[in-house]
């Protein structure tokens, strides 16, 4: 496919920057030839190559959203200690790789003092919370994400800076609307709507009507002739399941409600195929107030979940595996969270979530 180009325009379609020049020299040298790694202490791993080369990696927690100034400070440290290279992890942490063991302590010191970043997130820790735009940039959010992440990480800083206090790695995500750009996780915090979308009168007409009608998974939206003769929409409340898909398609379909939206906690999601394979996250608790700036009710619920997890899970048992083993009954008992009819799946494949065995814990 050819691309229209204008005079004086910069080159197009550059593609991905080459990783090789961006790699730490020891990573490039020993590329594909690593032998083993060792967890030395929280936030510090040693990678040993087949060649015998050693590389120490220091991991620090980052707020993800940063000013240019902060990013430059990170670069300064990388230049000073990490041979002018650094990387970010898939959970938005910063990693400095060091060729010299002696640099570990000074680097750690400066990470803490200059950047104000904590060191940890390795091993069986609660690593950085994946999160989304929130009120800072998205057009759909019902809550903020960066703020709740800050609150969560403040609360669980000890679980970040240690690597053996938890049974296994704990991955949390926080999203600002039900779409959940933050993704599945051991624990996810998500927005929950409690009524069908309200159609904002002033907006009708700006969206492509057929597209809005088509996006509704349960065919709850239908075109309607307005009083003024213009075609508008209506929502069949009985059918609507408050999913908000229409809102993403057309801002007129206002699904959010500052008064009635709540937050839910979902747990047991897992991407790794390690042991039993990936799993979706399941509803643990709904109806938590959307309470900025620190969402204390969410923090409390997380504390409860993590306390129970710590006290009862076996080593290497991810959140969902732990609950699979002890059973959801015990989970609800231990946490004291109410089990309600809303916890029971009501989709077409609901039957596949039923306990179709005599396996009970009594």
């Amino acid at each position: 496919m050819s691309v229209k180009t204008k005079k004086k325009m910069a080159p197009r379609d550059n593609g991905a920057p080459d990783h090789r020049p961006n790699l730490h020299p020891l990573m490039l040298k020993n590329y594909g030839k690593w032998d083993y790694h060792e967890k030395l202490r929280p936030g510090l791993l040693l990678y040993v190559a087949e060649s015998g080369d050693k590389l120490w990696t220091v991991r620090a927690g980052s707020p993800r959203t940063m000013s240019i100034d902060t990013v430059r400070k990170i670069c300064d440290l990388a230049d000073k200690y990490a041979q002018g290279h650094l990387r970010f992890t898939s959970r938005a942490n910063v990693e400095f790789s060091l060729a010299n063991e002696d640099d570990i302590e000074p680097l750690m010191e400066e990470i803490r003092s200059v950047l104000g970043f904590p060191i940890g997130g390795t091993g069986h820790s609660l690593s950085n919370v994946l999160h989304t735009q929130g009120w800072m940039h998205c057009n759909l959010p019902g809550t903020d994400a960066a703020g709740s992440v800050k609150s969560i990480m403040d609360q669980f800083i000890n679980e970040f800076v240690t690597d053996d206090k938890l049974p296994a790695r704990v991955k949390i995500s926080a999203s600002c609307c039900q779409i959940n750009c933050g993704g599945q996780a051991d624990i996810a915090i998500n927005v929950q709507h409690h009524h069908p979308p309200v159609i904002k009168p002033q907006g009708v007409g700006i969206c492509e009507l057929p597209k809005v009608v088509a996006i509704c998974p349960v065919a709850a939206i239908r075109p309607r002739q307005g009083d003024d003769g213009k075609t508008t929409m209506e929502v069949v409340d009985e059918k609507c399941m408050y999913c908000g898909a229409c809102h993403g398609q057309c801002p007129t379909m206002e699904i959010r409600d500052a008064n009635t939206d709540t937050l839910s906690i979902w747990i047991g999601g897992k991407n790794s195929s390690t042991r039993k394979g990936p799993s979706f996250m399941k509803l643990a608790m709904w109806g938590l107030p959307n309470n900025p700036p620190r969402w204390p009710e969410v923090g409390e619920a997380l504390q409860t979940i993590l306390d129970c997890y710590k006290s009862s899970a076996k080593q290497y048992e991810r959140m969902g595996e732990w609950i699979d083993r002890i059973g959801w009954k015990r989970f609800f008992e231990m946490t004291g969270f109410p089990f309600t009819k809303y916890h029971i799946d009501d989709s077409v494949s609901a039957r596949s979530t039923f306990n179709t065995s005599t396996h009970v814990r009594i």
């Binding site: 015990r330 039957r351 065995s357 005599t358 009970v360």
Partner: protein, 425 residues
């Protein structure tokens, strides 16, 4: 489809092939018996025709014994001309003693009645559990039924009714049994005998009772309401016997056949003893089956009540799922609690079920949550394997989020008309 003329068979070469081989041959048996009952010979003739054509020659019809709406599976033959003695050839379903136990006296009594009135074929037992008596006509059906009932027997279920119950041998001969399957089978049969005889439910309803999770009554997929024995609290462990077992079989055997087979990994080895995490034991019976001299179900016994099993028609196979995780089933009051539950289920299903809709299909249609509300049972996490994964929840509750002192209404949305087209990005 082309017509072809069918003649009454005098030879049965295809069926004859089924007379050879080590397994007892129903053909040989019936052939012998046809000397007494010519209808049986004609039955074999029509069967031979079916074997030849790979086609069936029975049509269904309806025949009811007075006061009953079921229990007779009536058939007439399309080849009635060729085989007059089986022109009408009905089956009577008879309720067996729970657990299919017989004194020869009672079984002989059945034989006598049946020989007198019919072609004299018995199937022990039908898949639902009935005694199936084959080979009456429109008249002898009634005579046989009257005589059966005279002697205390009763007809089994058919149609949209409670069906004949079935249970495993249970406490009568099995050390694994956690409740009295036979007594409860008798109790439920007698208690609901009217529902069994007079089709008034949306559709058929089957109970099967197994004394433990081994489910020897194969209830999970074959009954609308399995009742399966289980226990509360700790399993009984005889550590001496455990030690003997380990000595006898070796430690690897125990790891490979017991420890790693536990569905919840809740057995651990401590030297020559084992430790069971009773909180996480799901009473699956496996370790007990393998080490049955050393392990036994706990002492506080009862049953799990499940619901919704059936075969495929319409929505696909449904497996029963947990309704009541544990119910003691010892006393009259225990039994009453169970029948109260059944009553409320039948009432809600009766009021809201569609025709030919079994309880599993009904629950799938209305949703388990609604069903539980309808029958007045609290949701219990043991009913499910996992909570919902879909965030699309249809709450009836509006609020929950309101925080004291916060604005009563949503802030005004911008008054500007959207000037630029919005696109999903």
């Amino acid at each position: 489809m082309s017509e072809k003329e069918i003649k009454a068979k005098t030879e049965t070469p295809m069926l004859d092939e089924l007379k050879t081989g080590p397994w007892p041959s129903f053909v040989a048996d019936l052939e012998r018996y046809s000397e007494k009952k010519p209808a049986v010979g004609q039955l074999l003739g029509q069967l031979e025709q079916s074997y030849e054509d790979r086609w069936n020659y029975w049509q269904g019809t309806v025949l009811n014994v007075d006061g009953y709406g079921g229990g007779v599976i009536a058939r007439y033959s399309e080849l009635g001309e060729q085989y007059p003695d089986i022109a009408q050839f009905h089956t009577i379903r008879v309720i067996p003693p729970p657990g299919w136990v017989y004194s020869t006296e009672k079984l002989r009594e059945l034989c006598d009645i049946w020989e007198k009135h019919s072609a004299g074929i018995m199937q022990l037992h039908g898949m639902t559990g009935d005694i199936l008596l084959l080979g009456t006509d429109n008249k002898t059906t009634f005579e046989a039924a009257e005589e059966l009932m005279e002697k205390g027997w009763d007809l089994g279920g058919s149609g949209p009714a409670l069906r004949t119950l079935a249970c495993c041998v249970g406490e009568a001969r099995c050390e694994a049994a956690c409740f009295d399957t036979m007594a409860l089978t008798k109790h439920l049969t007698d208690n609901y005998i009217s529902e069994l005889h007079r089709p008034e439910l949306p559709y058929k309803y089957k109970f099967k009772l197994s004394g433990c999770a081994n489910d020897c009554a194969a209830s999970m997929q074959r009954s609308d309401m399995p009742v399966i024995g289980t226990w509360r609290g700790a399993m009984q462990i005889n550590q001496d016997e455990v030690g003997k077992f380990i000595d006898d079989k070796g430690i690897e055997f125990v790891i490979d056949n017991v420890l790693t087979r536990c569905p919840t990994n809740c057995i651990s080895l401590k030297g020559k003893t084992i430790d069971v995490d009773n909180d996480n034991c799901v009473r699956c019976m496996h370790c007990i089956n393998v080490m049955h001299r050393a392990l036994k179900p706990g002492k506080d016994r009862g049953a799990t009540i499940l619901i919704g099993g059936k075969r495929t028609l319409k929505i696909g196979d449904t497996m029963s799922s947990v309704l009541v995780p544990f119910m003691p089933l010892k006393t009259e009051e225990d039994f009453t609690k169970l029948t109260d539950l059944i009553d409320s289920i039948w009432e809600f299903w009766g009021d809201n079920g569609l025709e030919h809709e079994r309880i599993g299909e009904f629950i799938a249609r209305v949703g388990l949550g609604t069903f539980l509300e309808g029958i007045g049972l609290e949701p219990d996490p043991q009913m499910i394997n996992q909570p919902r994964t879909s965030p699309y929840i249809k709450f009836e509750e509006l609020t929950g989020s309101k925080i004291d002192g916060e604005p009563e209404h949503n802030p005004a949305v911008s008054n500007e008309e959207g000037e630029m087209a919005e696109k999903a990005i």
